[in-house]
Symmetry: C2
Subunit: 391 residues, 2 copies
């Protein structure tokens, strides 16, 4: 078992109607002016933004707005946000949306509290020393950014998608009303579920000795997501299912499912980042499209772990070890198909040429310092092979 | 599913040798002077206190000491601690020990930041508005106080044992080296495991709708504690087992296993508090001694929950619902016997008279405003009956 740190300071306020507590929660932070950061029109149309503004106004909290965050959030909007916050004297960011909005808020927060170009952190040239306090009102269960230490930004100059992690950016509160996710499209819901599942799978597939307690928690979480994702396909308004998935999203990425391990594999995320950077796909769908190929390429690097996964999470077993492993991988793909997620890039709507695959592998290799993954260490040629298998 | 808040700001630093990071962790809190609070001689004899002092001295952090905390920590020492801290200008408390030491530190912390008698909070006459920051170096896996919002103090004037909870007292950090627990006696280890198990069981047995994810996490946690408690009886130096139990102790009482529920039953704790207050027994052992009688008295109040517990945690099933329930209860008692824990008060070494049972039930009833428990609401006459069954 590895030594570990566990730090999740985010105050979670979970359940029906909790968005009306936003004013009170922000007021507790004793800030001067709030940036309300959000995405498209849905937060406006649904009336959510209006309720949040009302809640802030009731507490006499001043605020400015910046919308327009898109999936795979852009560096250019981050720069715009930093400029606005500087001009307006903003000292607290309220992210109203999903992972993209929260990640964009985190990047703005870094930019407001550190000198120089904020992209330096995502380019891993230097470390941040602070971040503005961030609160979140979550509208999609997926990225887990509402409790996590990570954020991912896409630089349009070269379409490079990069992540940066530090405890400074962990949100001070997360307001989570599962009802707010009922208006998502089926595709958004399913992509979110795939993302949640993958956050725990990345940690579960590792090369360390393990912690039974962490494994048991992870397995429960993965079974829960699979069960309720399927229910949501036919019952999008099922509150219990929305709530199970939403809470799983936070616990999947706040560090809990990695305690005592080596941190996990994360190659699927690295491979997807390049697909997302080049083709701008939904993150969860991109992960689903590449995972099966990754699994088949690497499982011999730690077969006993794939067996445990097959038996305890997918509840399948075969006539021998390898058969069990392959049945487990097939069961994941079958699950993805059942929620209309892709299991390859073609189904994802992306058909990269050989040159594009070469370029994605090259970029991935550079971003990860030559290789990624831990179940099997993947070099550029391995990445090319997995991209081809996933084509 | 119920709305819930989840707030666990404690920074956990877990693993071998982590006690040497104490100086750095305290330094990060920017305090002027630290009270090192501890129990008996074991922290001195083992050299732990010396290492902690060295770690503080290396950072130039001033400190004073107050030892002498006993199990079921006393109000008189809390008063002494408050006086010492006021005199010395202490603004940070470092608790080196188990639940009793941490709880005593929390009470001192309340006393330092609120006017009036600190017992008022435990007597539920008023609410605290702050607490000094507290760091912990954990030496026994049991109470979960290192991440929890609760503390329990015994007032020698009437031997009244009372708990008080508020988020103010959640420790800022918890330094957890499982190796430090290897010198515990078998009885201390087993009592700790019983306490950990009960913290999740109290939450698991409730009357609300439930959250699958919380249930799955709770069941994994309970299975883990049972498995490794047994291993520790023959292998007290097994690091993995010590680590599994230690982490389970924190997660069992930091709120995670109650998310989405009504908060749980807690009658066993209430009943044990009176035994502990009158006879000064080990808390975990006291819980073990009374749980079986509680379970047999109340299970008809929510049979389906007891069935789920029997099947998913104790891995037993019977010929019908009632048989499964009783087999589950017996399996818990069998587990307790396997780790040499009592399953009744006689085995606990306590033989209360009818008058003493009447007095305990009377005190419990008053402390809980007339009744306790939620699987079945227990009034004074129910408490008397359970105490008699457990005699």
């Amino acid at each position: 078992m590895n030594n570990f740190n566990f730090y999740t300071p985010t105050k979670v306020v979970f359940g029906k109607g909790v968005e009306n507590q936003v004013g009170e929660l922000v007021n507790g932070e004793k800030c001067k002016k709030v940036l309300i950061h959000y995405g498209g029109q849905s937060a406006k149309k649904s009336g959510l933004l209006e309720r949040i503004i009302k809640s802030l106004d009731e507490k006499g909290i001043r605020h400015v707005q910046l919308g327009g965050v898109v999936p795979n959030p852009r560096l250019s909007l981050v720069y715009e946000g930093i400029e606005l916050c500087q001009k307006e004297g903003v000292d607290f960011i309220l992210a109203v949306g999903g992972g993209s909005v929260i990640d964009s808020a985190k990047a703005i927060g870094y930019g407001m509290t550190n000198d120089g170009d904020v992209w330096d952190f995502y380019d891993h040239k230097r470390q941040a020393s602070a971040c503005l306090p961030i609160g979140t009102v979550l509208t999609i269960a997926a990225a887990g950014s509402e409790m996590s230490n990570s954020s991912v930004i896409t630089n349009e100059d070269g379409w490079i998608k990069r992540g940066y992690s530090s405890d400074f950016c962990r949100p001070v509160f997360a307001v989570m009303n599962p009802e707010l996710t009922m208006t998502l499209t089926e595709y958004q819901t399913a992509s979110g579920c795939a993302d949640i599942l993958m956050h725990t799978m990345e940690r579960y597939f590792n090369q360390s000795e393990n912690m039974d307690l962490t494994d048991g928690i992870s397995e429960a979480l993965m079974r829960t997501v699979i069960k309720y994702a399927k229910i949501l396909m036919s019952e999008p308004d099922n509150y219990e299912a929305r709530a199970e998935v939403m809470w799983a999203g936070s616990l999947s990425h706040n560090g809990l499912t990695g305690c005592g391990t080596d941190g996990g594999d994360w190659a699927t995320h690295a491979l997807e980042h390049e697909i997302g950077g080049m083709f701008d796909v939904a993150h969860g769908a991109g992960l689903a499209a590449v995972w099966g190929s990754w699994a088949r390429y690497v499982y011999k690097g730690r077969p006993e772990r794939f067996v445990k996964f097959a038996e305890n999470v997918m509840m399948v077993s075969g006539k021998d070890e390898e058969d069990t492993i392959l049945k487990g991988i097939e069961a994941v793909e079958e699950f993805y198909r059942s929620i209309h997620m892709p299991t390859n890039m073609k189904e994802l709507g992306v058909e990269p040429t050989d040159e594009q695959i070469e370029e994605m592998a090259e970029k991935c290799s550079i971003a990860k310092g030559g290789s990624c993954g831990i179940v099997k260490q993947l070099k550029k040629e391995d990445m090319i092979e997995i991209y081809r298998m996933a084509r």
